[in-house]
Amino acid sequence: MIVEANGVRFAYVSDEGKYTFALNDVDITIEQGEFVTILGHNGSGKSTFAKLVNALNVPTNGEILIDGMDTRDEDNLLDIRKTAGMVFQNPDNQLVATIVEEDIAFGPENLGIPREEIRERIDYALSVVHMEKYRKHAPHMLSGGQKQRIAIAGVLAMKPKIIVFDESTAMLDPKGRKDVLNIMRDLNRNEGITIILITHYMEEAVYSDRVYILDDGKVIKQGDPVDVFFDYDTIEKTGLTLPFEAKLIRDMEKTGVAIRHTLDTEELLEGICQLK
């Protein structure tokens, strides 16, 4: 298990001293090499969970183990952050340097990695996100999707085992979103990196092995995306929007047409063609 959350609760304390639980008794386990999507609406606690994986937050109750390391132990802090990288929502607010390669070097520099190796890691990270040409560019000249790819490269340069994407596509245009999603898939398949995708767009879960649905701080459903998405009653309760394919199948079933459950457009087309 690379991520193991047992009975995790996380409370925010308001000014009047009142506790609000953003996460309430959450169990999530993720294996090395998995692609897991955590879905939830605003205020479901999904971003709180993301920050727990990176030890930016520490659980109020319960424990969370990253590659066997307890996030509550201060001594593990750097090792945990090295193991679990994080890409945030706003591409502008996570780039530190004025030149792309220097920004990618920021993480490895913090870890005290020798210069020659940092150079190698920059080459590697830029090639994975297909941004080799932009090595010497200023980040503010790039598009949102490109900036987000640089942010991913910056995390990759620390050689993490896990990358958490905390709504990293929310501020991008459709093209940028697609590019970033494809990179997530490649990272998972080719580099063997565990991906945790936090989002409220259900259609982004297409590449994932497993889906968790969070609502009001609790896991209300988990499993294979196809099984989870076609549990219409649960989805309706959370207020999430079904992807087009699932919605079409749901509407067809309502009118009495039986069709195979799938999230793949091609497979759906085939299914429709085979209808009598």
Partner: protein, 264 residues
């Protein structure tokens, strides 16, 4: 308006001056600025101008850009000139009309002050034209490194400087966006008297400040997530080494200083 400013801008090129170690450039700039105030004779000024002309020639920076940097502070130079010419008293009157008297000493002093200002502006813009922000902050961090022993936060200061520079274009873009949004709601920024114009800036400044704080918070989180934990045990991607050309630059500067001291 802000985008047209040339002071503090970097113009990349492949030249002798660009390739100098940023520490060399920073030290030489500092020395020259001090010695400008020690020049009191015409040969001294001529040698300084020659030195700067040589620097400009070996930097591939166009002369027009250098003039542009002076133009941006011409008003300050003009005021200094006027103040000196009218208010300095001497012995030999050159010009007299009603209560205005211009003395020879005043005229010389005025020319000298204006000349000094021009030279200072050229020196400092030559530094920023040929040295990137990152190089300057790196040089400051290395040069002031020994102060770390006195618990002076050198690394933090350098990082703050570079982050500030990194966010200038981002915040400029944001200002532009906010201005457009407020204009769309009927706000106007360039009509009315001074007071109403200043009041008109508030709807821009407040959202700008709020967003800047939000950005700072996000950035701090992102830096922490990337294992930032202060300057200890940190490596640096770019390493600086003094080369032979730095020696040449220092030797020329030393020569210039000797000329200034002799011509005094």
């Amino acid at each position: 308006m802000i985008k047209n400013m040339t002071i503090g801008q970097y113009f990349p090129a492949d030249s002798f001056v660009h390739k100098l170690d940023p520490r060399t450039k920073l030290i030489i700039t500092f020395i020259l600025i001090i010695f400008v105030f020690l020049i009191h004779s015409l040969p001294g000024y001529i040698s300084m101008v020659a030195f700067l002309a040589l620097t400009i020639a070996f930097s591939k920076i166009s002369f027009r850009l250098v003039l542009k940097s002076i133009r941006s502070i011409w008003f300050v130079i003009f005021i200094t000139f006027i103040l000196n010419i009218f208010f300095l008293k001497g012995e030999e009157i050159l010009f007299e009309w009603q209560f205005i008297r211009i003395y020879r000493e005043g005229l010389i002093k005025a020319c000298e002050m204006a000349g000094r200002l021009v030279i200072l502006v050229i020196i400092s813009s030559m530094l920023t034209y040929t040295t990137s922000a990152k190089e300057i902050t790196d040089a400051i961090e290395i040069l002031f490194g020994p102060l770390k022993k006195l618990r002076f936060p050198v690394h933090e200061m350098a990082l703050m400087m570079s982050i500030a520079l990194r966010f200038i274009p981002t915040l400029l873009e944001e200002t532009d966006r906010i201005m457009k949004a407020q204009t769309a709601r009927g706000a106007s920024f360039d009509t009315g008297g001074l007071i109403s114009r200043i009041k008109g800036m508030l709807p821009i400044l407040i959202p700008l400040f709020i967003s800047a704080f939000k950005r700072a918070e996000d950035l701090a989180l992102a830096m922490e997530a990337r294992c930032y934990h202060g300057g200890d045990n940190r490596t640096r991607l770019v390493e600086y080494h003094y080369k032979f050309r730095d020696l040449i630059a220092f030797a020329l500067t030393a020569l210039e200083i000797v000329i200034i001291l002799i011509a005094k």
